[in-house]
Symmetry: C2
Subunit: 285 residues, 2 copies
Amino acid sequence: MSISLIKSHKSFDGLTSFYQHDSSVTKTIMKFSTFIPNKECSDKKAPKSKIKNAIIWLSGLTCTEENFIAKSGIQNLLKDSDTMVICPDTSPRGLQLANEHDSYDFGSGAGFYINATTNGYCEHYNTYDYIVSEITDVLKNNFDVVNYSIMGHSMGGHGALVLGLRNPQLFKTVSAFSPIVNPTRCPWGQKAFAGYLGNKNKDDWCKFDATEIIKAGGARSDTILIDQGLDDEFLQEQLLTQNFSDACEEQGQQIRLNYREGYDHSYYFIATFLKEHVEFHLNNF
Amino acid sequence: MSISLIKSHKSFDGLTSFYQHDSSVTKTIMKFSTFIPNKECSDKKAPKSKIKNAIIWLSGLTCTEENFIAKSGIQNLLKDSDTMVICPDTSPRGLQLANEHDSYDFGSGAGFYINATTNGYCEHYNTYDYIVSEITDVLKNNFDVVNYSIMGHSMGGHGALVLGLRNPQLFKTVSAFSPIVNPTRCPWGQKAFAGYLGNKNKDDWCKFDATEIIKAGGARSDTILIDQGLDDEFLQEQLLTQNFSDACEEQGQQIRLNYREGYDHSYYFIATFLKEHVEFHLNNF
């Protein structure tokens, strides 16, 4: 796997970097950002020897590889650790598929971490496989990382839960901010799944729905951490947090669900509680 | 002075907010952002009683009131203090002056914290007065703040130095990241000053040039803090840091100038060293 460095910024004695690579899964150029803590990285090359762990961050609708790395403050939280973060883009780019650029909640910027089966999209929008196989391959072969965990926000929180539940050995820890926990039951998820998976086989939808995975007996042996703002404007219609909580209680999946009074869906919320999530990940590598 | 809340986001137990108001100085609507630390702000109203101090942050070229508050991580640094931050926009908006929107380094997004004298601009681009009189008025009357300090980045670092040197009683502390210290000698400053002040009276230019102010005997009795990345792509041509350093040494102005190896001009640099700047300000209120 060949990756190209686009630019690097020294940050907190480490490096915040932006890369691109040819993806064999999406058949497009894909971009991602990283932060690698290192006290001796003045040559701007990614240091390989000391970093053993990677947190994979999955962003939400409309985001790119830049939002989290620019706004979350994670550099300050990882600077003294042996753990990097990698933030993939939220969809393939540079394509002209039907309806791909018509709305913020489908197509570009809205990959939903699924493997598409519909015409056109099935060639490129396989962002579930992209994370599971290609991002982990990049981490292993280009950054010498051996342990992975996963977290995300909103659509990316959905992605983190689904990927973490379906690959409990691959991802050592799972956490989410404001996740879409039951996409088959909310407008965002229904629109995206109809477009990517079609309407014929709704059973396929359940493979990419964290609540349905739990209901069907999927589980992790460790605790999943979730933070959810109670003033989140999408809580009632789109996120449906309680559905996941109820399913986990029924099925015996341990979760730590923190409802946060007064907090909304924004990166200001993420930045506030990110320290607890990072510590949760660092403690479980 | 009437200000209108546009939106608020609870952050680190405080509030990150965006406001607008009719400015009598710029004769436009002006926007600014704030972060107010407060443990009991769940009603989303700006709490007035406990916050006594404000850091005024001036942003650089192309920025709005949002960049610093979204990217710097200052909420985490102020959360337990009695100090708020206010981040004004970098120019008037909504006008159609000659050449106002043609380039990133003049006109909209590039107010340069001067008082313009040229045709058209003299009516609106008086952002020096806007900060000195109107922003402080907002802080005093709308937020009950009694102490002000000032810091900024690049064009905003220039603004912080000039405003702080010319108003040593008003601004208790001055600091800057990557400031344009000698605008009359660099392309950015020469273009902006020609457009805002005209080419006829170059003596006027010196009133808005920190290095020239120092050379002419202007000084503060306290130390000015500056951080400057050594990999900053604008250091040699635009920022001219050494000119200010030399003038301060000649004139006896105390500065603490930290050259930072490997750091560039970005917000990743600002975020890295912001803690030291915030502590410098908090210690001097």
